[in-house]
Symmetry: C2
Subunit: 307 residues, 2 copies
Amino acid sequence: MASHFGDRLFAAVKSKGTMLTVGLDPVAERLPEEFRGGSGDVASAVEGMYNFCVEVLGIVSPLVPAVKINSAFFERERWKGLEVYYSVIGKAKEAGVEVIGDVKRGDIGHTAGAYAEGHLGSFEDIVLPDAITVNGYFGADGIEPFVETANREGKGVFVLVRTSNPSAGSLQDFTDSRGERMFERMAEVVGRIAEEQGQIGKSGYSNVGMVVGGTSGEETSSLREKYSKVWFLVPGFGAQGAGASDCVRFCRADGTGALVNSSRSIIYAYENEKYRSKFGDDWRGCIKQAVLDARQVLLEGMGFSKA
Amino acid sequence: MASHFGDRLFAAVKSKGTMLTVGLDPVAERLPEEFRGGSGDVASAVEGMYNFCVEVLGIVSPLVPAVKINSAFFERERWKGLEVYYSVIGKAKEAGVEVIGDVKRGDIGHTAGAYAEGHLGSFEDIVLPDAITVNGYFGADGIEPFVETANREGKGVFVLVRTSNPSAGSLQDFTDSRGERMFERMAEVVGRIAEEQGQIGKSGYSNVGMVVGGTSGEETSSLREKYSKVWFLVPGFGAQGAGASDCVRFCRADGTGALVNSSRSIIYAYENEKYRSKFGDDWRGCIKQAVLDARQVLLEGMGFSKA
């Protein structure tokens, strides 16, 4: 493992030939029959989630540079779910992908430091993610403790700047008298930390990045040029409605600089008639084809015509 | 247990005669000697945290209406810590206080719903908190799933509006062309949800509240009058520097309407020379006296002269 998260991402995107990442959002009731268990208790739910995630990792890991694992779906099953969350992270590292823990944690000072240790630190018995997402509403002193831990561990942090949900704009587009929006102010705070407190790798990228939804309007596009050393994590591709061009605008011309994430459109591809009609009950085939299709659509979005 | 969180808080503040709440932020290395264990591993760390919290609950529960348990310090020990977090919640409920899970979770749509289930839902085997804190940077559709679960379960939600840390203002005081600040915009979103989507109890309070730091400036004081049906959770009293008058300004004249939280000043009172000089190694005595002192200071801050 190289020592700098931004460099590892750069190498991974180059070697896999795509900026696509797959989000693991396992909901027990939506899993293929064989993972649903019979007893309906927590133990069988988390076992099904774990086994499903391991199978999905086997299918997608050769095809993408990174996976994003959302802790919410594991925390729904409380500590037993969180144990499985860490186990899935370990399996993802074994499978050779960068792992983003989508935990959206945030707090102040020494409390943020405690979250950072539990989610980015190093322990003998388990593997923690390469990076996590952070909610920066607290301002710089709520972000910096995460960056300190990331620096020490060769890891990364993605701070929420402009999210992909319908009501994001009601707060994040809040505009001051000079025409500056809240998300731009947040981006300034994060951009300064990325350059001054974070670490810039040989690839030219910082280990501190930003989350910007593909569904956000044209006004977010200038972030790419303005924060040239930052990796963007771009949710919203697929089920949430963002198209390829909405997402790849956060990439540099070489295809690096942004990770475009798709979760439900891929891991639940077997619910989609488009894939069912071709693969029937072969849910693995559905998922693999959905990854290949998403890769192709993103490549075309970048102006390349073939994989 | 009454069915409405706002009503339960109202009754608890009235019966305990104070708006003081105690925050449980257990850091393994700062605990009294007897809880520090010898082996330095996760199992002994979480055992010490659990035993310490149970002892603290025994001391403080007769004296305060609620406790706030910060998940960060438990998550630092990963899933084993989270298991203990839930165990401590169960013990706090047995001790007869309202329990606020200070988890500061936030996400969008169905993902927020997954967090809500894991942190506010109901399960046969364990007790979950009466309320949790939520980071509302996503806007209304990131808050509403938490409120839906809270409504169904007779529970509550406190959304971060203006936090107590030094750099909070850099983002939360961001001001628009009409002079409205970001935290005021956030308060509008939360206030609307509190009245329209949340439930108003017989006490007149909603089950949806706001977090406003005692350390925040005079500009936050008008929130009390403006959002008359809302409970405020006020961190920052004590170690973070807010005095009694900075905090009780969020109470109504009857002393209800705000919970004023103190964490480190109380649970680590045995580190304070003021208490050590009187109680020596009796850390229990230090903690109890710190609670009594904080109660008294808040009462005086309200203009009452005696407990």
